[in-house]
Assembly symmetry: none
């Protein structure tokens, strides 16, 4: 029933490589993900298949079983809740938390995770904008997120706003930003969190972190 830390890491690797679809993942990709030799992966795949966590056909690749998918979801939930804790409560920067969360995600206690979730106000997305699976391990994919955590050099579309105040909405009008506006992040300034963005593939402007945080894009 309970998996070892190594098993959990393989399940998580397969999950990340298959992106919650039923996509088939190959041995070398897993070996690269968990930084181990391909032969070691083969050994582990046999064990995971015995435990019915994956569907495995020699030479043809693997995909997660229903149980494996839920187990992966629970591990990812723990990882993302801990990352949220580290950033929100302990004031880590979002780029400093991954390795610590890799350790914390293996702590075994449903009660602990339930209380941690409550303590954090049952967040639905983590500090990187990734969705947090529910207690059963189900992940509801979220496509929209604040512009502050959207990918650089990518075009995003404004889907909603995170603030309804007139001062905010008036400013958007001035900047010619509305629902449906295309925004491309040109550069992120470390200093104050402001963003250099291209609006509708036309003019380039600089917007504050405060403003970007309230632009929900997809």
């Amino acid at each position: 029933m309970t998996a070892t830390v190594a098993e959990e890491n393989y399940i998580k690797a397969i999950f990340h490589l298959s992106k919650n679809e039923n996509k088939v993942v190959n041995t070398n990709a897993i070996a690269n993900e968990v930084q181990t030799a391909a032969a070691t992966v083969t050994d582990m795949l046999k064990k995971l298949a015995d435990k019915k966590l994956i569907k495995y056909e020699p030479y043809k690749g693997v995909s997660l079983s229903k149980n494996g998918l839920l187990m992966a979801g629970k591990i990812v939930r723990k990882h993302r809740l801990w990352e949220t804790f580290l950033v929100e409560k302990l004031n880590f920067k979002w780029d400093e938390v991954h390795e610590i969360a890799e350790q914390l995600e293996h702590i075994q206690s449903d009660d602990l995770i339930g209380r941690l979730d409550k303590f954090l106000g049952s967040p639905k997305i983590d500090p990187h904008g990734d969705p947090i699976p529910d207690a059963e391990g189900n992940l509801i994919p979220i496509t929209s997120k604040p512009l502050t955590i959207a990918s650089s050099h990518d075009v995003h579309t404004v889907a909603s706003v995170g603030d309804q105040s007139s001062s905010f909405l008036q400013m958007l009008d001035k900047l010619k930003i509305s629902i449906g506006t295309k925004i491309k992040i040109v550069e992120k300034h470390e200093f104050d969190g402001s963003l250099q963005v291209k609006i509708n593939n036309q003019n380039i402007i600089n917007i504050s972190e405060q403003l970007a945080k309230n632009l929900i894009v997809k």
Copy 2:
């Protein structure tokens, strides 16, 4: 430099058995503490001696070296800080946190522990009344003793408990005894070692020697 989880558990066991003194601990006691076979302990002692964490003489027992003592102190610090977090922030009861803290104490990150300590307000004692070692692993002993050897007709304050079992802690809850409770010894019964005590200058109850032994007062 970095120890495995198993090594840390042995170091911690020796620490708890020798009570921060240089007392010699024997193999069977360690085996009992870490719930393993005596032969396994011998194997591990050789490894820890190679790493200069203990002073080991075959058949004669072990004691922690200076480095071993500091390592134990750091592990205990982590354990007690996490217990404080679980009780203070996640609202666990004090008798529910031990096993989870046993897992959390092995998370590797000085930065994390530094921030956790700050987040908790740099507590000096944990929810059981035990002192929290400093960041280097130094433990400042607290002048406290079991109620069984405390002076009669004198008021004492519960400082910590000598047993972490939930049956014991639950009994204390029932008796309305917690850290900080004032206890005055009214009478000592020769027959069974039980004590007639006055709780917080109010009700008088009789407590067993077994219970009194585990009430650490100052």
